[in-house]
């Protein structure tokens, strides 16, 4: 009989905890997740890209990498960077003139929203710090 008494479920505490978790989740979504496009973008498939860029043309990806160096600059085309992705793979990244307001420097870790252009070049459409 005594054993039965010990297995009584603390319903109140459980419900309170569950309610708090739900509230936290809702509050987080409302405060942080609402309007973040990077969050819903697929990571850039580097291996696939290095194998064949043609299959990725037109797709938009999220790419987090460190800036290696500036390769070329053109007013019309923008800035061409060499970036080092995770795993040590190197990629050329074109930052169009629309993103000229963003300072990109060597060694910075940045998150890019990128699109594979017709020529296969990875072109940033958005950039932000991680």
């Amino acid at each position: 009989m005594a054993r039965r008494a010990r297995s009584a479920f603390p319903l109140g505490k459980t419900l309170a905890g569950l309610g708090g978790f739900v509230a936290l989740m809702v509050g987080g979504y409302l405060t942080l997740g609402k309007g973040d496009s990077f969050r819903t973008t697929s990571p850039f498939p580097i291996k696939d890209y290095l194998e064949n860029a043609n299959s990725l043309r037109g797709n938009t990806y999220r790419l987090e990498a460190m800036v290696d160096k500036t390769l070329e600059f053109s007013r019309e085309s923008g800035r061409l960077f060499s970036i080092e992705a995770a795993g040590g793979d190197m990629l050329p990244l074109l930052v169009p003139p629309a993103l000229s307001g963003t300072n990109i420097e060597r060694g910075q870790k940045l998150v890019f929203k990128v699109q594979v252009s017709e020529s296969g070049l990875v072109t940033a459409s958005e950039v932000r710090k991680p």
Binding site: L50, L71, L121
Partner: protein, 728 residues
């Protein structure tokens, strides 16, 4: 076949035998040279044959009756001789002295043929040739030298027969019986093969003369008969003339028959000469009858008288006709006598000319003993003492005649005797020279004697061993001539100075001229070879070839020339081989092998076309870059930079994919720098697929691996520009 050359040489022998214008009388016709074999006793090992009669040398030789030129002994003709240059010849032959006067085909070019012993040159019929270099003479002489001596039984019998004939025909013992015996022996001697039927020809000529003589006798007999007939006719004419005269005087018609008047003009008999008692005597009785005048008579007497007159006239006419017939016969007989006399004379002259022609032929063929026999027969059968040669061509007679004297049979005999004496002296000299070991002089004297007296026993019986010595020397001398003509001075020098050379064979061999020629040619050839060497050292190919050709012209078989030419040939051969090999290595792109033997190929292409030289130069320059790349790679690898080493090798290897060393190094560094190599290869693969962005990505990765990569840097620079331009 042998007639012509014998005849030609016979003529030359004539001139060799006799100094022109100097008649000789070495022997009288009564003491001819008997046919004896060579007498080598004076210096020769062989003794005279037993029983042989002494040679002409034993006979007292009369001295030359005319002064001789001091040059005569040297074979140089005297100045007034036709043999002398520009010599006018004898006074009686001005036309012969001037070749310009010679018509086309004139015999002997109107000049006497002759030999100059100083130079060995013979002039004959307007041409000059060298006895020593005359192939016909050389061949005949060598044949003679190699032939065994003619000492057989037949030869001895033949010579004995000819000697017997000469003895029988000796004028001091000549009888009709000995003449007949000599003629018989002459026919016997004609059977010997070596005689060449000369005795037969002589015998035929003698027979022809005898035949002519018999004809003359018969003609003389016929003329005697005709003369006797003419005498009878004269008698008959005289009788008939008397009868006619009587008949005419009986008729007495105031006319008379005078045979002296009416006789034919051509009658040389009694009719023309009234004082001829033999022929006019029958006519004399008529004269008294003519003297008394005819008495006048009665008519009857007149009639009777007229009848008698008529009868007398008929008788006179008949007698006249008989006389005329007799005279006609007499004329015919007289003409026949004259014709026979002329025929006899012509027959004799013809036989004499024929015989003299045979004698001249024997002389020209140098059958001197036959000639002597012929002259003795001549004197025996032509007893009138006329020995003048009646030859139709006086050019030949000019040869035989001496100093303008008319040529005679005696001239021929004298010339033959002199020729025989010369041959005998020449043979004696030959033996002396052989004994002294002076084969050069021996061969010359023998050649001269052989030219003159090829058929003389002194020549035919020369010992074979002695002739062989001269033959060996002559052959070697001929070899020397041939070697000098072909400019084979090595052989010529050996022939002169070798252990069995000419100087060793003949003490008197004069090597001055050949030695001078050899040394001069050697020096000239060496000079040109030195020029060739200098040209070769300076790389002057045309000058080298020219100098070599000049040296070859002077001395074709020069050992030094052969050595240089062989070297040049081998060099050319090596050069050609190197060029072929170079082409093969270039085709194989085996430049390392070319570079390893750069010196050989550079030398080979030195004379090759400019394109080939440029090609080799480029190959060697490329090879330098290969070597530099390999050395650089090796050093980078040593410093722990295999990627750099690979890149250094790879860059050059793309240019020289077939180089083995590069391939090996490439394989080595590919293993050591696998990541870099794979990255670069991926980049290059994307670049080839025109995927510039991914190619650039790979090159960027390669640069990350090997930051100093030139290959990556160049690609990045190229690709980034392309990508930016595509992005506009």
């Amino acid at each position: 076949m042998r007639r012509l050359p014998i005849s030609l040489r016979g003529l030359t022998a004539l001139c060799l035998a006799l100094p022109m214008g100097a008649p000789v009388s070495a022997q009288t016709p009564d003491s001819p040279a008997p046919l004896t074999p060579a007498d080598p006793s004076s210096g020769a090992p062989k003794a005279p044959r037993p029983g042989a009669t002494p040679g002409p040398d034993a006979a007292p030789a009369a001295p030359n009756t005319l002064p001789q030129s001091p040059l005569q002994g040297l074979g140089v003709p005297p100045a007034n001789s036709p043999l002398a240059p520009g010599g006018g010849g004898t006074n009686n032959a001005p036309a012969a002295a001037d070749p310009a006067n010679a018509g086309p085909g004139a015999l002997f070019d109107n000049r006497l043929p002759g030999i100059d012993q100083a130079t060995g040159m013979i002039r004959f019929n307007g041409q000059t040739w060298d006895v020593a270099n005359n192939p016909i003479f050389a061949a005949n002489f060598e044949t003679f030298l190699n032939a065994p001596e003619e000492l057989g039984k037949e030869e001895e019998e033949y010579r004995a027969t000819l000697n017997r004939i000469l003895a029988l025909m000796d004028p001091s013992v000549l009888t009709p019986q000995s003449l007949t015996e000599a003629y018989r022996l002459l026919n016997r001697a004609a059977g010997y093969v070596g005689d060449g039927r000369q005795c037969d020809a002589l015998s035929n000529a003698i027979y022809a003369v005898w035949q002519s003589k018999r004809n003359q006798s018969r003609l003389a007999e016929a003329n005697q008969i005709l003369e006797e007939e003419n005498k009878l006719r004269n008698s008959r004419i005289a009788v008939k003339a008397g009868e006619a005269s009587r008949s005419t005087s009986g008729a007495n018609l105031g006319s008379s028959f005078n045979p002296q008047i009416n006789a034919p003009v051509g009658d040389t008999g009694a009719a023309q000469n009234p004082n001829n008692r033999n022929t006019n005597q029958p006519a004399q009785p008529n004269q008294p009858r003519q003297t008394p005048p005819a008495p006048s008579g009665a008519p009857r007497e007149d009639s009777t008288r007229r009848n008698e007159d008529a009868s007398n006239r008929r008788d006179a006419a008949i007698a006249g006709a008989g006389i005329a017939a007799e005279l006609q016969d007499k004329l015919k007989a007289t003409a026949q006598i004259k014709a026979n006399e002329a025929r006899s004379q012509i027959s004799e002259l013809s036989a004499k000319i024929e015989y003299q022609t045979v004698l001249v032929q024997l002389f020209l063929q140098r059958r001197f003993h036959h000639l002597l026999i012929g002259t003795r027969f001549y004197r025996a059968i032509f007893v009138n003492g006329d020995s003048k040669l009646n030859l139709p061509d006086n050019r030949v007679t000019q040869l035989i005649g001496n100093g303008g004297t008319p040529p005679t049979v005696a001239s021929l005999e004298l010339l033959a005797n002199e020729a025989m004496r010369r041959v005998q002296n020449g043979v004696k000299s030959f033996h002396s020279f052989v004994d002294l070991g002076e084969l050069d002089s021996a061969s010359k004297r023998l050649a001269e004697a052989y030219i003159i007296g090829e058929f003389m026993p002194e020549i035919r019986t020369l010992p074979w061993e002695r002739k062989r010595k001269v033959l060996a020397y002559t052959q070697k001398a001929n070899m020397l001539k041939a070697a000098l003509e072909t400019k084979d001075y090595t052989l010529a020098s050996e022939l002169i100075h070798g252990p069995n050379g000419l100087k060793a064979m003949a003490k008197d061999f004069d090597a001055t001229k050949p030695n001078a020629l050899i040394e001069t040619s050697r020096n000239m050839a060496r000079l040109h070879l030195a020029k060739a060497r200098n040209a070769a050292l300076s790389g002057d190919k045309p000058a080298f070839e020219l100098a070599l050709a000049e040296a070859g012209k002077i001395w074709p078989n020069n050992p030094e020339l052969i050595e240089i030419a062989t070297k040049a040939f081998n060099q050319g051969d090596v050069q050609a081989q190197a060029l072929v090999e170079l082409d093969q290595l270039i085709a194989q792109k085996n430049f390392r092998r070319i570079a390893e033997e750069a010196g050989r190929f550079l030398a080979a292409t030195h004379l090759a076309p400019a394109e080939k030289q440029a090609q080799l130069k480029a190959i060697l320059e490329d090879f330098k870059s290969i070597e530099a790349a390999l050395m650089g790679a090796k050093e980078m690898d040593r410093q722990g930079n295999p990627a750099g080493a690979w890149e250094a090798v790879e860059t050059v290897a793309q240019k020289f994919p077939d180089d083995l060393q590069l391939a090996q190094a490439r394989a080595l560094y590919t293993t050591k720098a696998a990541d870099f190599v794979r990255t670069v290869q991926n980049a290059q693969e994307h670049d080839r697929r025109s995927q510039a962005a991914t190619s650039l990505a790979w090159f960027l990765k390669a640069q990350r691996i090997y930051p100093k990569s030139q290959m990556a840097e160049e690609a990045i620079q190229r690709l980034k520009v392309r990508l930016l331009s595509q992005s506009n």
